[in-house]
Amino acid sequence: MKTINSKIWVAAVAVTTVMTVCSCRDVSDDVMSYGQNDDFAFAAADTSFVAQFDALWTALNCNYGIWDYEAKLGLDWDDVYTKYMPRMQELDERDKEKNPVSDADFKKLYEEILSPLHDGHLVVQVKNLHTGNRVAVAPSNMRNARRPDYDINDVPPMNYYLTPAAGQNQAMEYIDASVRPGRFIYKEIDEAIDTLNQLIAPLEAIADRTDLQDYFLDKYRAAREELSTFTLRTMVDLDLYNNVLTTKYRELDITLEPFDLSDKSSWIDVKYANIDDGILYLGLTGFHLIPYLYKMYVSSPCGEYYTLRVEAAWERWISMIQAYHNAGRLKGVIIDVRNNGGGYTYDYQYVLGALLPSGGHQVASARFKTGIGRYDYSPLTPQELKTLSQDHVTVTEPIVVLANCHSVSMAEMTCLGAKQLDNACVIGTQTWGGLCMLNSDPAYYSEYYASVVGVRDETPFWAYIPVDVTVSKEGILEGIGVTPDIEVQLDRNLLQSTGRDSQLERALEYIRTGR
C-alpha cells in the first residue's frame, strides 16, 4: 500500500511539474495590419514621430519582400530601428509652434532611413506631423539618379530614319500611335476652328449685319482667337481644356470632346516601323496595350480616337511579322522598351509573347509572403507570362529588345524573357532594377498580404510595396536591373547633330550580322 501511494505521489508531482513547465511557451507580439486605413493601426502614428516611425518600420518589416536580399547587401533592419528611434524622439521633443520640423529636413531624414532599400518600385510617403505636408521617398530614384543615362527621359525620335539619308536603315513604313493628350485636344480644337471659320465667313460677307449677327460674329471671332492661342503645356492647361473650354462655347453650338483618359499610365507611345523592308520595329513606353486592344476606352470619342490608332499600329506590326515570316522576308524584330515604365503582365502576350509559341513563357520565378516574419516566404513558383493564344508564327529570326535605365518592371521582364531565347538579344544599357510585380489597388492587399500599406494622402504614411519577389536565373535583381547582352550608350552628340539613334543602329547591325 505504501508503495502504491508513493507511486501515485511521484506521478502526481511529475504531472504537475510538466503542466507548470508547459506554460513556458512565449506568445507573439501583437502586429496590426496596415493594409487598409485602419484607425486602430494608424491612430498613434498621427500623434508622434516615434509612433509613426514604429508603425512604418513594422509595416515594412512585415510586408516588404526582400529582407534576405537586403541582409546579404549588409542591411540590418533592426539596427535601423535602433539607430533612428532616438532621432524621432528628438523630433517629438521639438516645439511644434516655435521650432517645427521643416519638410526638407523631414524628407532628408527619411531618405537616409530608406535609401539602403533596393526594391525598384518602393515609394514611401510620410506625413510631417508638424506641417501636415507629406514627403515622398523613392529609394530607386535616388540610386538611379547617379547613372549616366538617368537624364534621358524620352526615346529618340524616328524622324531621321524616315528620310533617304538613313540609307539602308530607312523606315519604309511608319505609324506613330502615341497616346498623348495633345493629339486629341489639338484635333478637337482644329475641328472647332474649322467650324468657327465656316460660321464666321458668311457673317463677314454680310455688309449690313444686324445687331444679333454682330453679336455672334464677335463671339465666334473671340472663340477662334482663344482656341487658336491655346497651348497644352502642363496639367493645368489640360484641366483648363477639360473643365472650361469643352463647354464654354455651347452657346455657339461649338462643343469639344473632353480628354477623358484620366489614368496617366495609359498615355503611352506606340510606334511601328518597317525598316529596310523586313526589320519590324515596335516601340512602346508602357505595357498598357490591353485597354486599347480590348477596346476598354471606346465609350468616349477620346478613347475611341486613341484605340483606333494603337490598334492600327500593333495590328500592322503583328500582321507584317506573319506575312514577312511566311514569305521568308523577315530579317528580324526590334522591340523598343527604352523609357518604358512597365504595366500589365498580361501585355506580354502582345509584345515579346506574340513572337513565341502559345502556352506561356517562364521568364523567372516568384515567391510571395506567407507570414508576418521578415523571412516568411512561399516556395519559388514559376513566373510564367502569357503568350499570344491566337494563331501566329513563332519568330525564329533575330529579335532585339532595346532597353535603358528607364526600362522598368514589365520592360525588364521583357528583357529577362529575351535572355531566355537563343535568337534574342538585349541591347542598350542596364535596366532600372525593379522587377517585382505590383498591384497598386489597396483592395487587393489581402490577396498576398503585401502591395500597398496605408492610403495615399490619408494615412500618416503610405508605402507602395511589391506583391511578389521576382527571382531570375541570376537571383534577385532589385536595384541592379537586367544587364544587356550588348551594352551601348546612347550617343547624345550623334543624336543632337544628326538625329541618329546609336542604340537602334546597333540593333539593326546585330540583326544584319548576328553579332
Binding site: T3, I4, K7, V10, A11, A14, V15, T17, V18, V21, C22, C24, R25, D26, V27, S28, D29, D30, V31, M32, S33, G35, T58, N61, C62, D68, A71, W77, D78, Y81, T345, G360, A366, F368, T370, G371, I372, G373, R374, Y375, S378, P379, L380, T381, P382, Q383, E384, L385, K386, M437, S446, E447, Y449, V467, D468
Partner: protein, 222 residues
C-alpha cells in the same frame, strides 16, 4: 540518417553493462503534429496538423521494479499543412519536417508481472534535419496554378532554429510475452518549448510544434 541511428545503438550497447536492470528495444509509430503559430492579421491562412511517422531505438535502466530511466534516439516527422481559403484556395502547402530526437525520461510502471501500465515523463533534445514542401500555388499574375513536390526548404541560419528542446510524456501498457522479451504500446506527446524560429527580428513571433502519437515498441530484457 541510418548511420546515425546505428551509431547510437552501438554506442548504447557498448556503454551499458549487461545485467538484469537493462533493456533495449526498437520503436515505431505515427505522430500527428500541431503547429502553433499566431496568424496575426492573415486570417485566411490556415494551419492544420498533419500525420508523420516516428521510429527509434530505446534503452532503459530499471532502478527498481517500478522506477526506470529511459533513453531514446528517434527519427520523427513533425509535419503540418498551411493553406488558404477564399479566392486563393489553390494555395496549399504540406510541409514535411524531419527531426532527430533524443528523449530522456523517467519511467514509472505499475501492475502485474505480465501486464503492466507505465508512465513516461521527461525532456528531449532534438535537431531539425530537413524540411520539404509539397503542394500547389495559384499565381494570379500569370493565371497559373502550379503544383510542386518535395521541394527542399533551404534553411536560413538567421531564421530557423534547428535545435529543438521540450518536454515529453507518455502512458502505455506493456506485455511481457517471454522472460527476455516485452512489447509496449504507448501514447506519447512531444511538447516543444523551443520556437522553430530564432528571435531574429525585433518583433517576436515564436512558433511551436506539438507532436502526439502512438508507438509500438519491442524490448529485449537482459
Amino acid at each position: 540518417m541510418k548511420k546515425l541511428i546505428l551509431f547510437f545503438v552501438v554506442l548504447l550497447g557498448s556503454v551499458l553493462p549487461v545485467c538484469a536492470q537493462w533493456r533495449v528495444g526498437i520503436s515505431r509509430g505515427v505522430v500527428w503534429n500541431h503547429y502553433s503559430i499566431d496568424k496575426h492579421y492573415m486570417t485566411d491562412w490556415h494551419y492544420d496538423g498533419a500525420m508523420g511517422v516516428t521510429m527509434g531505438v530505446v534503452g532503459q535502466y530499471n532502478i527498481s521494479d517500478w522506477k526506470a530511466v529511459r533513453f531514446e534516439v528517434n527519427y520523427i516527422e513533425k509535419n503540418h499543412r498551411q493553406y488558404r481559403t477564399g479566392t486563393l484556395a489553390d494555395t496549399d502547402y504540406d510541409t514535411e519536417n524531419i527531426y532527430l530526437h533524443v528523449p530522456v525520461m523517467a519511467s514509472y510502471s505499475f501492475g502485474a508481472q505480465k501486464w503492466r501500465g507505465f508512465l513516461n515523463l521527461g525532456v528531449y533534445g532534438g535537431y531539425w534535419l530537413s524540411s520539404k514542401w509539397s503542394g500547389g500555388f495559384m499565381n494570379t499574375f500569370s493565371g497559373k496554378d502550379t503544383r510542386f513536390y518535395d521541394v527542399n526548404v533551404g534553411f536560413n541560419s538567421e531564421r530557423d532554429q534547428r535545435w529543438d528542446f521540450g518536454l515529453v510524456g507518455g502512458v502505455g501498457i506493456e506485455y511481457r510475452f517471454h522472460r527476455h522479451w516485452a512489447a509496449q504500446m504507448e501514447g506519447r506527446c512531444y511538447y516543444s518549448t523551443t520556437s522553430t524560429q530564432k528571435d531574429y527580428m525585433r518583433l517576436y513571433d515564436p512558433r511551436y510544434n506539438t507532436a502526439i502519437g502512438g508507438l509500438l515498441a519491442v524490448f529485449y530484457l537482459f
